[in-house]
């Protein structure tokens, strides 16, 4: 798939699908003069784990709070399983949320916390006990039913919070920054555990996070948000490999960006002239747009090769000087300064240095990349 195809896919998936399980239609939220959410359209399929990704203040949390019913929409509609949510206060919505701080009631035991939601419905005590026991089993916390929240570790608290939001069998489960209260070391393991539990239960999920790794690990699809709008929407792979804007290219992972103009436009290849590079960049696919159009090129650091001699297999190359070396374990991140003053990042796998002496500070090197390693961004 090329960038144009990705673009098409992006447009297709923003138009809300009439059959989707959760539909968010033209939702706007204003706080006085300030617009927090500026016309969002989204649809989430049944049993999907969807992530809203963005930095703080991008409107993702407001959107989540509108789904839960804590904030009223200024305009637009939220429809879950065919039912419009507008009329429903939070305590009547078939939606449950796992809070960022977990919000476990400190004066209640683990079991009482989980039973709380069931007690609000007309459910018999025996059924409540059964369902609480089942869900405790599911999150492997049966042993801790009588503990108070402050007697649990962070990871255990998180599982109780998950159990509490799952026990009512919500149509939509909201996860607000689910990993942010955990230590970095246990996050990765917990992410996988959480996804496994959600898979087992089969629940539709919407999560909010500012951590792109977390979104990529857990979500089936994700939406990148900025300034109250969705910038890009797709699977983690699509969004990473085919970013559609400078914003999502820079927000998801790190990247090298070059501003330039299209100088040769052919159906199967183009050349882009960039001020920062010594010669035009050859790109092995066409784009839709006029000659001379300003574009931005995005090249991921892992696609940039670093050599001591000029490579002969690609025209896309530039000489430079190593100005910074960061050893990251499995790879080393090189910053190379080109003659134009532009800094280019290159990830070099640690394995590559097995037989070669690694370049050091101030060494003259060449950076290069393949014609298909470049994503052309038009906005």
């Amino acid at each position: 798939m090329n960038a144009a195809q990705a673009q098409a896919l992006h447009h297709a998936s923003t138009a809300p699908d009439a059959d989707a399980f959760v539909r968010i239609v033209d939702v706007v939220k204003k706080f006085g003069e300030a617009t927090a959410v500026a016309g969002v359209n989204l649809s989430v399929a049944r049993n999907e784990l969807f992530a809203l990704l963005g930095s703080s203040g991008c409107g993702k949390s407001t959107l989540l709070r509108m789904l839960a019913g804590f904030e009223e929409v200024t305009s637009g509609r939220i429809i879950i399983d065919g039912e419009d949510m507008a009329a429903l206060p939070p305590y009547k919505r078939p939606v449950n949320m796992m809070f960022q701080s977990y919000a476990l009631f400190p004066h209640m035991s683990v079991a009482a916390n989980i039973a709380f939601g069931l007690k609000q419905e007309k459910i018999g005590p025996r059924e409540i006990d059964e369902r609480v026991a089942d869900v405790l089993e599911l999150v492997q916390m049966s042993k801790y039913a009588r503990r108070k929240p402050y007697q649990l570790s962070g990871g255990q608290q998180q599982r109780v919070a998950l159990a509490r939001s799952l026990v009512k069998r919500p149509k939509l489960l909201l996860l607000d920054e689910p990993m942010s209260a955990l230590d970095k070391q246990i996050r990765q393991r917990t992410q996988i555990e959480l996804v496994n539990i959600l898979d087992k239960v089969g629940v539709t999920c919407m999560m909010v996070t500012h951590d792109q790794e977390e979104a990529m690990t857990m979500a089936t699809r994700l939406a990148v948000m900025s300034e109250g709008r969705i910038v890009q929407l797709g699977t983690p792979h699509e969004v990473y490999e085919y970013p559609n804007t400078r914003f999502s290219a820079a927000f998801i992972g790190s990247t090298n960006l070059f501003d330039g103009n299209v100088s040769v436009d052919n159906p199967d290849h183009i050349y882009v002239e960039c001020a920062a590079l010594p010669q035009p960049v050859f790109i092995s696919h066409g784009i839709t747009g006029p000659l001379g159009m300003p574009v931005t090129l995005s090249i991921r650091p892992e696609r940039v090769r670093l050599t001591r001699t000029a490579p002969d297999n690609t025209p896309n190359q530039a000489p430079g000087k190593v100005c910074n070396i960061a050893y990251m374990g499995s790879y080393t991140l090189y910053h190379v300064q080109l003659a134009s003053g532009k800094n280019v990042m290159a990830n070099v796998s640690t394995l590559a240095f097995d037989n070669v002496d690694p370049p050091s500070y101030d060494e003259e090197v060449f950076v290069s990349w393949a014609p298909d390693a470049v994503t052309v961004l038009t906005k």
């Binding site: 839960a68 939070p90 305590y91 809070f99 419905e121 007697q151 649990l152």
Partner: protein, 273 residues
């Protein structure tokens, strides 16, 4: 941590606490003095405690004060919690400034001002509505509650502000109506503030002289009113005995309250295992 000068610290605190406690200690010591002249020591005796036990006027007044104190404490906690909740959780509604001013003012406003204004309210009400016909326990009670509501509201609002709003959101998310959220989540979590507010209201009510002076009627003489009418005339060894009993009760109460609060705190701080 940078430590302050130890000598200065101990010296200052010693002088400060001597100033705070010397008068109280002198009261206690001389309550066991046999002499009629309070400040001249003769010999140890419990004479004034016996006199106190026989003093019906004082005992009746004490019972009345106790009754009003209990009524005040319960009513102030109920209204004050409500008022404090509004202060903490309702945002800046229209009239917020006036509202917070009306809560703050009784904390500092001289009691004589509140006394006369409440009295005039009750007199005018009596004239227009025919009720309350005369001043008494009821009017004193309202006056005390008026005063204590502010204290409770301030204590409660600061505690509610410390609460994570996510707890209340979570309860609502799990299907509890706002009213249930308040009673099942918010109230239990601020229970310590409620106890503090209750104790403070009770003490303020038992201790109040000025409001009671304006708002009492025939047959509703509270303990401070009796004590005041006597100490106005000068020293009275019976008052020393009363003071000693009072101080004893308060000391035990404060230490016990502190002990229980610290224990609750310690239990909360128990490490995860």
């Amino acid at each position: 941590m940078i430590k302050p000068n130890k000598k200065l610290q101990v010296g200052t605190l010693a002088v400060g606490f001597f100033f705070l406690y010397a008068p109280i200690l002198s009261l206690i010591v001389y309550s066991f003095n046999d002499s009629q002249l309070v400040t001249i020591w003769s010999k140890v005796s419990l004479r004034w405690y016996y006199a106190l036990a026989q003093d019906d006027e004082l005992i009746n007044a004490a019972w009345l004060s106790l009754k009003i104190g209990l009524l005040t404490a319960f009513a102030s906690v109920a209204i004050g919690t409500w008022a404090g909740f509004v202060l903490a959780r309702m945002g800046r509604f229209r009239g917020f400034t006036l509202y917070s001013a009306m809560i703050n003012a009784p904390l500092v406003i001289p009691e004589v001002i509140q006394g006369i204004s409440l009295l005039l309210l009750f007199v005018e009400m009596g004239k227009v509505l025919g009720w309350p016909a005369e001043r008494g326990v009821f009017t004193i009670w309202i006056g005390h509650v008026m005063l204590c509501v502010s204290y409770v509201a301030i204590i409660v609002q600061s505690r509610i502000r410390e609460l994570d709003t996510a707890l209340e959101d979570a309860a609502m998310d799990l299907g509890a109506t706002p009213l249930r959220v308040f009673f099942v989540i918010t109230l239990p979590l601020i229970s310590q503030a409620l106890i503090s507010g209750w104790l403070l209201s009770f003490t303020l009510s038992i201790d109040d002289l000025v409001l009671s002076a304006f708002l009492s009627g025939p047959g509703s003489t509270t303990l401070p009113l009796v004590v005041f009418s006597r100490v106005r005339l000068g020293l009275n060894p019976e008052m020393n005995a009363l003071a000693t009993i009072f101080i004893g009760l308060v000391t035990v109460g404060v230490i016990a309250a502190n002990f229980f609060m610290q224990r609750a705190e310690a239990r909360r701080a128990m490490p995860a295992s």
